[in-house]
Symmetry: C2
Subunit: 393 residues, 2 copies
């Protein structure tokens, strides 16, 4: 019988393609979403580059294209009664948890967005953890974390754990985290809580510390225009390479923040699909919180911009790279060496970032050029507020 | 002019004595509370051993006894508009933050209490951090954390930071935490967030990782019965030594959980007063999150029980020590060596746990023996639920 997999945040950039990928792969898939992301888009006045149908339309289109059914649960993970009802009815054997506020800039807008992000992510995840504990204790939680939890330490970033030798004694710790935004901090909180749940209740979990994802489509989303995923290029929800490609497509300079030496792990959206399925197919042991660093290559932001520039110029587009003031407070030149062997050992076949791939992104984006709104490329969310409030005399 | 100190959670076991201590010490003191603790007492059917007047009555009694004024703000730290109004009107130069749900067992009752604890503590603290950033950026945040954040690692527990040498490189990290309950995890989240605020916004903070506090009174609370603090002996809000003393006073066996080798840092409530004032008097630098391990001695739970037994027997009371099933899941025999020199270097004069001190606790408790409700000594909050839900066929 097909394994039951529940995808939380199944209406999102990664959640929806994951649902299709697993559905096509023979799993019985259900998705959960509360459409919070669509509300944040309305709030900020941004929209995905490709026209996105409703979740119900997507599911219908997927049924027509693939003859597979994806079940839909609409509700909020911070409402335990909803979470409980989903787990009791679907009884998942694996849960893939993308159902969080995923944007660092969004979390840094102001106190309201900061507290919303942390309460939403932490409470939603705790509810999921309790539902697993009390309803389906053998279920494997596959939780999307982020490489941004680690920050940029001056030693190698190991995969989740670090053995520390100190004054003649030794201890293996969860790798110490130094998150770069209050969103990243919310993911650190989740990891702390999930680790607790594994230690105390014997839950099985895989924490996927994902790098920055790029890419416009997967094999499944390419099957029909109605199956497109919600590709963002604005400053709040768009990731670096995606934004650079959109900038190139409209002749906007590629805006590298600060010195551009900020180095991160990156991966293709197709590899996200693979990684998540590898985690599901090879579950953690009861009581184990396994951590994978989920990315395939490291780049500095400047290197990324240069690659997009080169690919665009081969298409005859004229592209400029500029250094813009960095809205974030972060190290702009630093050591960075993050291990990422565990998913390769499980069989990950990486799609590396070649010019062909950037080409295909640029071509696809060009077809939707009329939908690009250049005004959202900069949204003025600053890590440190520009004008500190004046103290009254 | 007197320094303005804001005590969050100023109606609590430590908050109220701290407010009096600082008021007597020449500070201008205001307290914030939403009386959540009094609501939790009603919820669980427990009450403090000594009769407690209302906060307004306490403040009035303090005015009569000391001729000092303590200002009162009633409201909830999770409501930013309230926090903002307090900071704008009082403009604190230091904030002492006890305003959190402080009980590990309370956080472990069920999913609702777990999520409440984490959202309450994390959101309240974030609101305070933003209010400091935006209204009084030079204000020093003195945040009460707990030694329980560290767990029981097999290496020495340093004071807040750990320098890790790894493959020929070196990095100083916040000391990695392995919290023992979802309450303790909420404090770890707070530390992560406050560290972020210091790094990104240049806030100044002191994180006091406090040990288990014991004691029934301070110099100030002893000045008038109306100034008593809310001493708890029930399983949810009472700390180990306090509970043992109450058990001894009513001839109840001292219930040591499990093997009793669980070792923790302890301190006298009078030393909490000193430590907090030392932190206020010697503020952290801008951008610095300073961490002090705030305790004076380490004991195992069995050692504590033996000391109470010995002191009680000298009074002619017959006392038995029994090993009860451990409601917590924790190591019961482990290495434990926690550093705690920084507050001593600032001038802390410890009140060590001598028989005289236990004597005086026992005598004071004995006077209120009629108010002791033995039924609350065990409340059946278990870290691992006793009966996992049955899976329907």
């Amino acid at each position: 019988m097909a394994q039951r997999v529940l995808v939380l945040g199944g209406d999102g950039y990664l959640g929806w393609p994951t649902a299709m990928y697993l559905s096509r792969g023979g799993y019985r898939v259900a998705v959960v979403d509360n459409f919070a992301k669509r509300a944040w888009e309305l709030e900020l006045g941004v929209q995905p580059l490709f026209p996105i149908t409703t979740l119900h339309q997507r599911v219908r289109a997927w049924r027509e294209v693939s003859e597979n059914e994806i079940e839909v649960f609409v509700g909020d993970l911070t409402d335990y009664r909803f979470v409980e009802s989903v787990f009791r009815s679907f009884r998942p054997e694996a849960v893939i948890h993308y159902g969080e506020q995923p944007s660092a800039p969004y979390s840094m807008i102001d106190v309201r967005h900061a507290t919303y992000t942390q309460a939403n992510n932490v409470v939603g995840t705790l509810n999921v953890v309790f539902a697993i504990r009390d309803i389906v204790p053998d279920c494997h939680l596959v939780k999307l974390g982020t490489m941004g939890e680690y920050g940029t330490p001056d030693i190698d970033i190991e995969e989740g754990y670090l053995t520390v030798n100190h004054d003649g004694r030794s201890q293996r710790f969860l790798y110490p985290k130094t998150p770069g935004s209050l969103y990243h901090a919310s993911k650190v909180h989740d990891s702390t809580n999930i680790h607790f749940a594994c230690r105390i209740w014997g839950l099985r979990a895989t924490d996927l510390n994902q790098g920055v994802v790029y890419g416009v489509e997967t094999d499944e989303s390419a099957m029909d225009e109605q199956l497109a995923t919600s590709f963002h290029y604005d400053e709040v929800f768009g990731t670096a390479l995606n934004r650079f490609c959109v900038q190139a497509a409209i002749g906007h300079p590629l805006t590298v923040y600060g010195k551009g030496g900020q180095t991160r792990g990156f991966l293709n959206i197709r590899d996200t699909m693979q990684c998540v399925e590898l985690a599901v197919r090879n579950p953690a042991e009861p009581g184990e919180m396994r951590v994978f660093n989920q990315f395939t290559e490291q780049f500095s932001v400047s290197e990324l911009a240069d690659r997009v520039k080169a690919a665009a110029e081969h298409l005859g587009w004229s592209v400029e790279v500029v250094h813009a003031p960095n809205p974030r407070k972060e190290a702009e030149q630093h050591y960075y060496n993050a291990k990422h062997s565990k998913l390769l050992e499980l069989g990950l076949q990486p799609h590396y970032l070649g010019e062909e791939l950037i080409d295909s992104m640029l071509h696809k984006i060009e077809r939707y050029r009329d939908r690009i709104d250049p005004s959202v490329l900069v949204q003025n969310v600053r890590w440190v507020p520009a004008e500190p409030e004046k103290t009254p005399a």
